[in-house]
Amino acid sequence: MSQFDALFQPLNINKLTIRNRIVSTAHAEVYATDGGMTTDRYVKYYEEKAKGGCGLCICGGSSVVSIDSPQSWWASVNLSTDRIIPHFQNLADAVHKHGGKIMIQITHMGRRSRWDGENWPNLMSPSGIREPVHRATCKTIEVEEIWRVIGDFVQAARRAKEGGLDGVELSAVHQHMIDQFWSPRVNKRTDEWGGTFEGRMKFGMEVLKAVREEVGPDFAVGLRITGDEFHPDGLNHDDMKKIAQYYDATGMVDYFGVVGSGCDTHNTLANVIPNMSYPPEPFLHLAAGIKEVVSVPVIHAQNIKDPNQAKRIVEAGYVDFVGMTRAHIADPHFIAKIKMDQVDQIRQCVGANYCIDRQYQGLDVLCIQNAATSREYMGLPHIIEKTEGPIRNIVVIGGGPGGMEAARVAAERGHKVTLIEKAEELGGQVTLASKAPQRDQIAGITRWLAMELDRLGVDVRLGTSADEALIREFNPDVCILATGGIPFLEQNPEWGAEEGLVVSSWDILSGAVEPGKNVLIYDTICEFSGMSAADYLAAKGSLVELVTDDIKPGVGIGGTTFPTYYRSLYEKEVIMTSDMILDKVYREGESLVAVLENEYTGQKEERVVDQIVVENGTRPNEALYYALKAESVNKGQIDVEALFDIKPQPILSEAADGMILWRLGDCVSQRNTHAAMYDALRLCKDL
């Protein structure tokens, strides 16, 4: 046993024995295709968590029970047809095989969805009030429809049970149909389905009763609720305690999952999956409050990412189970590593929210730092096996996330690896990114890699600038260039980068350039770097205006992250200006003048500032690549067919003397951390 004993006390949910206190809570995976069927990818994704020791997986966040609750644009599971049953059987078998348990969240989304796709339904909600995040207009649900939806819940629960799943979780959270009825914010009805407390409770109660009747007393049925909607006209914590008690009293609920915050506005939505700017477990008090009043186990997730943290929460008895969903996305072997006494080897979630932010764009959930997650079905491994082939001499140039991941994977394969980094510390652009306010956690990505490189005995040489001669000295079998990029300030000569009129966001974040008093940031990329530079400058006391030619600053940042930037920037009175192109910069006395041009009208205006920061992305730092390309056996080429197929690069099995040269990450073209690490993993896993 270990210091984490508290996490390994089994606990029952109804008749279901959960082997530990760690749960992967319901989230939209965006992996169900073919009309909402769980695919091989879906199954393997959950199987990996079960294999890694996760106690309970609740899959299928927002899986729909009705045909008119659309699921296609975020590819959730569709329980409105019997077609799903055999798929569930595969899923259940895969998880049970490893001792895990699996349930599914079922729901009707009501107004919290989009109508413009699939069957083009009319969305329904208790009082037809529009939902802002999805810009969802809807009709007022009629009583006949209410009973039909209740029936759909029953059928969906039956399908889950017949498919061999261990239980269902009714979603009464995130402003789905049940809590739409609960919340006075949206339920303005005066009939028996609204008005009084009992009236507002009625829909959920009827669903619960009908489902319980269908599945019998022994099948696990949970209820996921909010702990406080944080809306002035919504449900507060005391309301929720009352509601939880009310449902608990029926004896028909086997557990409560508690989520802090409502989420039908952009700002509250960000709370639901707290990113790295939040304190640890910010809403635990809400879950603990619910636990005080109910008699069944309580599950709580939200920013619980570390074993010590989880242990502390469970040990103290605030809740019975901790949800560690993103923690499992970052490392599905989280539990196994605790058990193997490898806590320091856990790849810890840093709260970058790449996963959820992709989901809100209708894209499949991926992990910013673990490219194997959800690609298990393609054969991308979480545990890298040692090679049975020749041991190679590998040199990696560049200690950013791509280079470090390449070095890590190569070293796990058992090769002799040297990593050369020009700077005095590892991390590359991630280190820069971590300098911004509330973004320090992101450095966890490369800090983990650095610890792994150390553990694996990679020869890391810092403060070493690599050139052709140095590389030749190593006489490597494979040379991997991950030298990253260089800020691209020369695109428009009128910006005066040559004369030093503008500086880059790197200059600012690295501290190479002192913050000005009155700064204009021109951001064409509209992702993290520009927002971070603005936040950084404002935190240092600069007056900041953030200008973009795009439709809004930070438009490329996902739905759970831009709100926290906005909170921070607005609070610091950063002016955000969109639709303006930086035309030119000139000096006027002590000051700099930025000439901006409205994209749509061509009208120009000026800003007098004392510092101009341009964030215009990077150009590849590729001089070394071209210097080495000719002498390499593969002429620097990567076989993309093999690469995309997750197959070994053919050159590895060809008996050719000389050095193989690959490049990856921003040193090819600017993409992101995940892209660099994905390439590193798929290139090096077969080395």
């Binding site: 046993m1 006390q9 024995t17 082997r19 490893h98 001792g99 605790i338 058990k339 049975e388």
Partner: protein, 641 residues
């Protein structure tokens, strides 16, 4: 010869002296506690035991075994014939010629003894033992010369006064050593005591290929528990100490000695001899106890007498606590001395009477008493590990083909991996298995080895009580220590719970499954594998083959370590040694991993969670360490149903 009568008189006198010596020696032994033996049948069985069981051990060293056959055999024969020819005066040329031949044989042996003694290995004691080859040769030459007339080679009466006197002196010298020394306490004592030890051995079951390794239960409620002074030993244990030939084979095998912990089994037995006879260790001429901390005990400073407390001046308690109870010394001892019994007997005194179990000992014992497990975990959490295993629990099913004895590995994350692997294999083979769940308790192994037999017996009785409620044919366990307790030690407590129950180690059981085709295995492709024999599986229970056969069934050709099988070196984890944690110069586990590294192994296969823990505690780089069940599970071909 001038004085024809002289040799026979001399022989008779020395024989008389030898009888006096024997009486004294026997009385020293009889000061020990009673231990019933059958004197007649013991003596009758003795020659066969000598030729078979003892020789079987000696035979491991061919040089010494031939030397001993020649010397010892020659001497016994010669002595018999000397008595016939020279004492009783049987006049037979044939006998005389036979005597000459046996003396030649003895002399030849003695030459080899002499050669051995010219540059003896460090394990051999020196001192009086250095003169032994000379005494042997003197005996042979003397009686050879003396017998020449009787054989008719020289005429009767050859020689003069001088020759007679010389021969007489030599007779006294050589017979003094060979007969009087044998009983009074010279190097030849081993022959006398050794022979009797074979006859009256406390573990008669050991002879004829048998195995007797379970500790004898301590009497509880007596005035003093355990052995405090030499006379607290059973008389035949004292006899056993006297049988020691100081060959140092135990010393060479002892892991604690090699690690520089203050234990040398040979010295310990010699100290016991000092204790039983009284005196000091000044005459001891072998290696002393290692002294890693420079506490400095001068030879001669260890004093004892039959009635003095052993740990008050004769042997340091640390010496007793250094033992891992690995039985390597016992296995190696040609005189079949039981070192481990003696050590545990003395530990019983230290723990049950003095309350002086070192380091974590007291805490562990307290925990075992209060929670039935050594680390003080909640007894109700014993089955937590199996929450996802869907295992039957005996309380529910009442009967099963196989009872899986989980042991305290249930509380340890590392060991749980072994348990889960084993369960998976059982399931793949469709075995009807159940566990005791939270009703199981620590087997008592550690408590017993730490000398707390009261707690051991308490646990044993309660476990037996639990077991007696259920029906099963086989007990299987992944823990060789629990295996040993259940199989060899629980029988002493008058319960029928284990009657007709086969107790098996998991490797034995798994091997049966594999041989019966119940488990299909893939070929292993993971580099070189060596196998570490757990002491409590191998030496204690003789199971060397099943684990190896299992490995072979996966296509693994075991790269054997130099010390493997019955000579396997302990991991350092037995006998509560990690708990008492007596410092040495090295760690035993480190040495064991070094052994493995010499085979170029990438993987050390093990069959014991304690060994796994000890070997994994060695700092990397080192070979990977996995239980055989874990290796098997990775090669298991799962049938798709």
């Amino acid at each position: 010869m001038i004085f024809d009568w002289l040799p026979s008189v001399l022989i008779a006198i020395v024989l008389m002296l030898a009888v006096v010596g024997a009486v004294r020696r026997i009385s020293l032994w009889r000061a020990g506690q009673p231990s019933p033996v059958n004197i007649i049948s013991g003596l009758m069985a003795m020659p066969k035991r000598y030729l078979h069981d003892l020789h079987h051990v000696v035979e491991r060293d061919k040089y010494m075994s031939r030397t001993h056959v020649a010397t010892g055999g020659g001497f016994v024969l010669a002595m018999f014939l000397v008595l016939c020819v020279h004492l009783f005066g049987v006049d037979s040329k044939l006998l005389a010629w036979a005597l000459l031949a046996s003396l030649v044989m003895m002399f030849t042996g003695a030459i080899f003894v002499f050669k051995r003694r010219r540059n003896p290995p460090s394990r051999l004691s020196k001192g009086p033992w250095m003169r032994l080859p000379k005494s042997l040769m003197t005996f042979a030459v003397t009686f050879f010369v003396l017998t020449l007339p009787a054989a008719g080679i020289l005429p009767d009466g050859t020689g003069n006064v001088l020759l007679t006197l010389v021969l007489s002196a030599l007779i006294l010298v050589s017979l003094g050593e060979m007969l009087f020394g044998m009983t009074w306490g010279g190097p030849m004592k081993h022959a006398f005591a050794g022979a009797l030890h074979l006859a009256f051995h406390r573990r008669q079951e050991r002879f004829g290929g048998g195995r007797s390794t379970g500790l004898k239960p301590a009497d509880l409620g007596v005035e003093v528990h355990g052995v405090s002074k030499p006379t607290d030993f059973k008389w035949n244990q004292l006899l056993g100490f006297d049988a020691c030939v100081q060959c140092g084979r135990c010393e060479a095998m002892c892991p604690a000695f090699a690690a520089g912990q203050p234990l040398n089994p040979k010295k310990l037995i010699q100290d016991m001899v000092v204790g039983l006879a009284g005196g000091t260790d000044a005459n001891y001429a072998g290696s002393h106890y290692p002294d890693p901390q420079g506490k400095g005990r001068e030879p001669g400073s260890a004093k004892g007498s039959p009635t003095e407390v052993i740990t008050a001046g004769l042997v340091d308690a640390e010496t007793l606590w250094s033992c891992t109870t690995c039985r390597a010394c016992v296995e190696e001892c040609p005189m079949m001395i039981e070192h481990v019994d003696a050590i545990v007997d003395m530990r019983r005194f230290l723990t049950m009477e003095k309350g002086e179990t070192p380091n974590k000992g007291a805490e562990v014992l307290d925990n075992i008493i209060a929670t039935d497990n050594p680390n003080g975990y909640a007894p109700g959490s014993r089955t937590n590990w199996a929450a996802d295993q869907n295992l039957n629990v005996m309380r529910d099913v009442k009967k099963a083909e196989v009872l899986f004895w989980v042991s305290d590995g249930a509380f340890d994350m590392r060991s749980q991996r072994i348990l889960r692997s084993f369960v998976k294999l059982l399931k793949a083979a469709n075995v009807d298995v159940a566990i005791l769940g939270d009703e199981e308790r620590d087997s008592g192994d550690v408590a017993r080895r730490l000398g707390d037999d009261a707690t051991f017996q308490n646990l044993a009785k309660r476990n037996l009580q639990t077991l007696s409620q259920y029906e099963f044919k086989t007990i299987v366990t992944t823990d060789p220590h629990a295996f040993h307790c259940l199989r060899n030690e629980y029988g002493d407590f008058g319960s029928d719970a284990l009657d007709n129950v086969e107790v098996l180690h998991h490797t034995t059981y798994l091997n049966r499954l594999v041989q019966d085709g119940k488990l299909k295995l893939d070929t292993f492709k993971g580099g070189t594998v060596t196998y570490h024999d757990p002491c409590y599986l191998g030496r204690y229970n003789g199971e060397y083959e099943a684990p190896r056969e299992l490995l072979r069934s996966m296509g693994i050709e075991v790269a054997e370590m130099e010390r493997s099988g019955f000579r396997s070196r302990c991991c350092g984890g037995g006998g509560g040694a990690p708990i008492t944690d007596i410092p040495g110069e090295k760690r035993i586990a480190d040495m064991r991993v070094e052994d493995a590294k010499e085979t170029q192994a990438d993987l050390i296969a093990v069959g014991c969670q304690q060994c796994t823990a000890m070997l994994e505690g060695v700092v990397e780089p080192r070979p990977e360490i996995r239980d055989i069940a874990e290796i098997l599970v990775d090669q298991l071909i799962e049938e798709v149903h």
